[in-house]
Amino acid sequence: MRHTSVSAALLVAAVIGGLGVAPAGAHAQEGPAVARAAWIKSCHDRKNDTDAPCGHWRLITRDGGGVALPDAAATRRHATGAVAHEPGRLAISGDGRVVAYERARDHRLVVRRVAGGPVKELPTSLVPKGIGTDDLLLYVSPLGDKVLVEYVDDSGRQPTKVVTVATGRTAELPARDSVRGFSADGDEVLATRTAEDNTTALVVHRLGGTSTQRTPSQVVANAPVTALAADGRTVAVFVSGDTGRGKPPRLRLYDLETGELSAGVDLALNPGATPYFARWTADGRLTATVVSAEDGKPEVVRVLTVDTETGDVTLTDRYSISKTSYSSTKAGE
């Protein structure tokens, strides 16, 4: 057995000690307790001429330091238990204070605070029979109070699960939807749904069970990056830049309740600098993360605050990730 069973009562008790305290004014605080990103090293296998993740996941902290996470699995597992030569699942909350990952020794999903403290085991039901960690995607809510698991196995039948860490309560979202991410306050999940007529709808799922669905215009449906605000209806829509035509990426705001779409603004970015992901912060700012990756060079990550009226951007954070990295994940991604 890969998973040891833990009673719900035990889990809840453990969780209240560690994660129940909501971090206030998260973005204003700096220090080793806040992670910007995590990365894992790449090793070359000469025999097979392949690259694979190796060593430990490492957190890049806000104070510029690094912390190894030897407890997090370096590689994930197929449903059979066989090693999948891709990095173990790991995700960091938007505020950078909570990290969720699959544990090295048993591949169980767990969460802990970046600052330290006990490791909380998540329900074993998150990795059901027939599912390996290779078959799922992991998300942590902006404040780290919820963990979402989306299943990408071939059956396509496993409903997405959202666990409230403090209570262990699990909500399910339809398996057919593709998750885009949590809203800024973590109370809703934005997803896309492909219809039989080849159109794609945006769906907001409230964790209470209700949802709102709307089929937007082409520009919204084609946008690679979206972020749902705390109001559960305003979607920041990042339209790709076009290097061929010299057009910068654009921002539009879409109201999922009314279907209203703003005319949009050009972002003060190069045509090739389409944000990699975006999120609304707890205090209502919109941030976009732009990465520049060139082979053999460190990945440079810029976190920008976006003025939704003008498209101006201000640099909020900038860091780089080792060029020896196999893979990385950023806080709130």
Partner: protein, 321 residues
């Protein structure tokens, strides 16, 4: 092979020249269903086009197009070996546009003559990069550069005059039902696909960013009114979608019951009639084409024609409409 090539050529020539001048009713027995070129297997280089164009008529008989180029010539004048020279059949099956063996652009009317267009009618691109489209009544011809560099040239097939040119960056989707306009699709800014309507003189009349259900269910066809676009949703339960480019509204979505096949062509053939060519590919068997007419008001579907394609076809060009 039931008929030897030589026989077909001889028979084709005579029939083409002696058929009655009167076009007769739409898709009468003397109309062309499609033009096909045979595929000949080679030892190790795969199939190649060979022989002359075969015109398969509505009554099932075959005629030839003896003066037409078959294997496309490259820009340097040498045969491309695997490329086929362009051919188009008008919606009513009465006119054919093709390249003559001497490389001239020609429009032949069944039972009528051959109109040779000006020597400089063609853009200077390799023959296999060219595509021809005729309007439903054959009155207009579009010459399209597949590489989208040269503009789409629109000709009057009666006079041979060049009427106008449409920017090459816009994909020609087809003529409007009455041949008066051209529908194009454009890769626009912000990663969206626009539809645009041009007059046959090359003037942009309207442009719109249609909703997903129109943009992502190709192909689209423009009505004779110059503003209503029809397209089919084929995944799931088939639906005919009508979209008004003037008001940017989907005006109707009608469920229709269709025979098997995927949409090969869609054309407006009347004020409230859309015609579909539905092609059913079959493993190791000839493709099956079913042509249906849909009443755009009621969604009623009637089969106009149904035939098995020549199994040995390398390529074929069906009439629209």
């Amino acid at each position: 092979m039931r008929i030897r090539i030589a026989v077909v050529v001889a028979a084709g020539l005579s029939t083409l020249l002696t058929a009655p001048a009167q076009a007769g009713p739409h898709h009468g027995h003397d109309g062309v269903r499609y033009a096909s070129i045979k595929a000949c297997e080679t030892k190790d280089a795969g199939p190649r086009p060979c022989g002359a164009w075969r015109l398969v008529m509505h009554d099932g008989s075959r005629r030839a197009l003896p003066d037409a180029q078959t294997v496309a010539l490259k820009a340097n004048g040498k045969p491309s070996v695997t490329g086929v020279a362009p051919v188009a059949v008008s919606g009513d099956g009465q006119r054919l546009a093709y390249l003559t063996k001497s490389g001239r652009l020609a429009v032949r009317t069944l039972g009528g003559g051959v109109k040779l267009l000006a020597e400089d009618a063609l853009p200077r691109v390799a023959q296999q990069d060219l595509t021809f489209r005729l309007s439903d009544d054959g009155g207009r011809l579009a010459v399209i550069d597949g590489n989208m560099r040269k503009g789409t040239r629109v000709f009057d097939t009666a006079t041979g005059d060049l009427l106008g040119t449409i920017p090459g960056t816009e994909r020609m989707m087809g003529f409007s039902g009455d041949g008066g306009e051209v529908l194009t699709s454009v890769d626009a800014d912000e990663s969206v696909t626009d539809l645009a309507v041009y007059s046959d003189t090359g003037e942009q009349l309207r442009r719109a960013t249609p909703p997903q259900v129109v943009a992502w269910n190709s192909p689209q066809a423009l009505s004779g009114d110059g503003r209503t676009v029809a397209n089919m949703v084929m995944s799931g339960k088939p639906e005919l979608v009508l979209y008004d480019m003037e008001t940017d509204q989907v005006t109707s979505r009608t469920r229709v019951k269709l025979p098997a096949g995927s949409v090969h062509m869609i054309d407006w053939t009347g004020e409230s009639q859309v015609t579909l060519h539905l092609l059913q590919e079959r493993d190791d068997k000839a493709g099956l084409m079913t042509i249906v007419r849909i009443d755009t008001g009621t969604g009623t579907v009637k089969t106009r024609d149904r035939y098995a394609m020549l199994k040995d076809s390398y390529v074929f060009a069906a009439c629209g409409g």
